[in-house]
Symmetry: C2
């Protein structure tokens, strides 16, 4: 095999960038066997070339000048591993306009500016790949775009945020949300400012990208109904356990009668469901479609080397499909309307704290019935004159359940705001 | 987008073949968006063109003459969906020699004749893809070859046979192996002659292919240490449950110090392990490697439309990488020795039925100790003067455990042949 060198440029040379370089060097033989090419980093954009690096970039590779990358004819493909929206977005646009294919690990950039970037890539006939932007090393984008081309995927379920998964798993062993979060921070599973994770924003960006690819229609960040995990209390976790379920932050993207619904929210997941088994900081994505029934991918959803391995896989794929016209589009070939969020249907769980008075139960259930919502299961606990009611409701429209809950919240015997969450199960609870 | 037609030929037009045709027709737009090409079935080889078909092949497509496919210049790529070794093997060889890329769904052919077929494909510079030959719609071959190029996968664990998975899951609810098998047959999960499944032969062929791709070294069917599930008794299943595990037929491929070990055998899988959650007839494959830690893929491992969807994905990939030199090799780039099976290390489970006499336990454990095998956990049950001993052993070489067990089997107080199985768990049992 006579190898032709392919020049690679990196935007950014931090943990991910230097790992990409290391993988390209150390696995050069494997890549050459697969592609017939030797991929070499010829340029890397950094702010400070004099900084010490984990894996040195080599003589003359580091530069502070973006134009030196964009205009370098040796650069055949570029990996954007710098993060942030600006200047990363500007750079990616300029590179695509200059006819250079780009591989991006930038979730926020792809989720927010994907539409524009893909339009440029498509017009220029170059690829924009973004495997590393969602769930690090889990090859869900490749599987969706290449293996499931004809599968009509209509539902994507995901545990796509390791921090919240760790915190919620931890709460099962007792303790409050604040305690579990503190432990996650101490162990390095949560950042000092965990807002992006616990608010669901990180998961929302990933679900926007996955829904876009799965359904072929642009889903923006604003299209994702998002709730975080900071409202989760020990009472919810223990009630969930009594029902044979666990509380998890779940991303749910659904195609219903030609309309799209994407949401990220705490849900009760049946213990026998594949998503309940996802451990600590791991991620999992379940894809449901016509020809495949259901395919689940699970693995580490974060990490420098894991992300770098996905970037390298994308580089290999760009080289391996170069000039064939393959995937030279934004995967969005239709414009589907958003589903009215209130019309989204699911079984639901409701947690109520009420005064222990005669007639409360009848009051609650008759109000649910008034909205055509029926109760599948009910657990009542008494303590010091107060009662908790944990209800599992049969599948119903979210709007009807929310309206009923809002009315129930105004009952004088209801002590606190009801807690609502969808239930994910393949069996009746 | 101006579509260029790509002529596809099918070898075989049964359940899978006609489903491939149907998917190409019904998802023509999706395929054209991805590849820039419209894939059309122009020829299909059958024995009886007059037979009624689920999805008609179209005027002039069916032929009984293989040469009419091999020599048809309109045929750009061929899907072999006829099964069997002969004449399928001859046809695939002739097609590759004629420079036509081939996609095969034929597990036995790829496992037995892969080395020769890939040598021809490589020499001719055409692709041979085989996603559908392993676990139907689960895209494990693509993920291994394209996403995990630089991951140095060193262990593959698989539940790759749905029939045995169903039978063993069923035995957890009580009943004998024969009863569970009969139920599987009644429900269509097992064939009238289930030998290929219950003996482990079907799983062995899949593991041979997966190990070959994962380790880059040819693994033949004869290289797979294979045991079936017909020796599994209710006592093993209930003892496994007491230990917090389930009995499953597991494929285990390991790269140990540059040597390869591939085996298919009943194992005790910890309930909290991802493979224990695999439902009934589903398959799952766990890939462990350097950069990715661990990625698990789960989905339907069989079925006509599921297999057809994998064939179509391969056809799309052939078109999408055409002329780039991508994956024009057999994935085998080294020749690794087989590990001596006795040197393979694992924690083990041993089930013994013994006479309830003083000193039995000391006798058994001292014989294990003589082989440097130590006991991690022991459960003893008494019934009518007989005792069962269920032992979990710390990690040890299989040879040492087998020798100790063979010696223990000769003890006068041991009533039946000991049952041995590896234990798969990420926690100490």
């Amino acid at each position: 095999m006579s190898a032709v060198d392919v020049g690679v440029a990196l935007l950014g040379y931090g943990t991910v960038g230097s790992s990409v370089h290391r993988l390209l060097v150390e696995s050069g033989d494997e890549i050459e066997r697969a592609t017939g090419h030797r991929l070499r980093v010829v340029r890397a954009l950094v702010r400070d070339p004099s900084k010490e690096r984990a894996f040195p970039a080599g003589e003359g590779v580091l530069t502070t000048d973006f134009a030196a990358i964009r205009d370098d004819p040796r650069v055949t493909v570029v990996a954007e591993v710098m993060g942030g929206l600006d200047p990363a977005g500007t750079y990616v646009r300029e590179l695509l306009r200059a006819g250079k294919p780009v591989v991006s690990a930038n979730k926020q950039l792809v989720a927010r500016e994907g539409a524009e970037l893909f339009a440029i890539a498509s017009a220029k006939g170059v690829q924009l790949r973004f495997e590393a932007s969602v769930c690090a090393a889990i090859p869900v984008v490749k599987v969706l775009r290449e293996s499931l081309v004809v599968s009509n995927v209509h539902r994507v379920l995901g545990i796509v945020n390791g921090t919240t998964n760790f915190v919620l798993s931890r709460m099962e062993r007792g303790g409050t949300y604040a305690e579990a979060l503190a432990e996650a921070q101490a162990l390095g599973y949560a950042e000092a400012d965990p807002t992006d994770d616990v608010s669901g924003a990180d998961a929302a960006a990933k679900m926007a990208i996955l829904a876009t690819v799965a359904f072929g229609s642009r889903v923006g960040l604003d299209d994702v109904e998002t709730r975080g995990i900071d409202e989760i209390e020990p009472a919810h976790v223990s009630a969930a356990a009594e029902l044979g379920t666990v509380v998890r932050l779940v991303g749910i993207a659904t195609l219903v009668d030609g309309a799209v619904d994407v949401r990220v929210q705490p849900a009760l997941v049946d213990r026998s469901h594949a998503l309940a088994a996802v451990d600590g900081a791991f991620n999992a994505v379940m894809l449901q479609g016509d020809a495949i029934r259901e395919i689940t991918l699970e693995g580490p959803g974060a990490g420098g080397i894991e992300t770098a391995s996905a970037v390298v896989a994308d580089l290999v794929s760009v080289v391996g499909t170069s000039g064939t016209g393959f995937l030279q589009n934004d995967a969005c070939w239709r414009e589907l309307p958003r589903l009215d969020p209130g019309a989204w249907r699911s079984p639901f769980y409701v947690h109520l704290e009420v005064a222990d008075r005669p007639g409360v139960l009848a009051h609650v259930t008759s109000r649910l019935a008034a909205h055509d919502v029926s109760v599948a299961q009910l657990v009542q606990h008494l303590r010091d004159g107060e009662a908790t009611l944990d209800l599992v409701l049969h599948e119903a429209a979210q709007g009807a359940v929310a309206r009923a809950a809002a009315e129930i919240a105004t009952f004088p015997e209801v002590l606190r705001r009801p807690f609502l969450a969808p239930v994910i199960s393949e069996r009746p609870l």
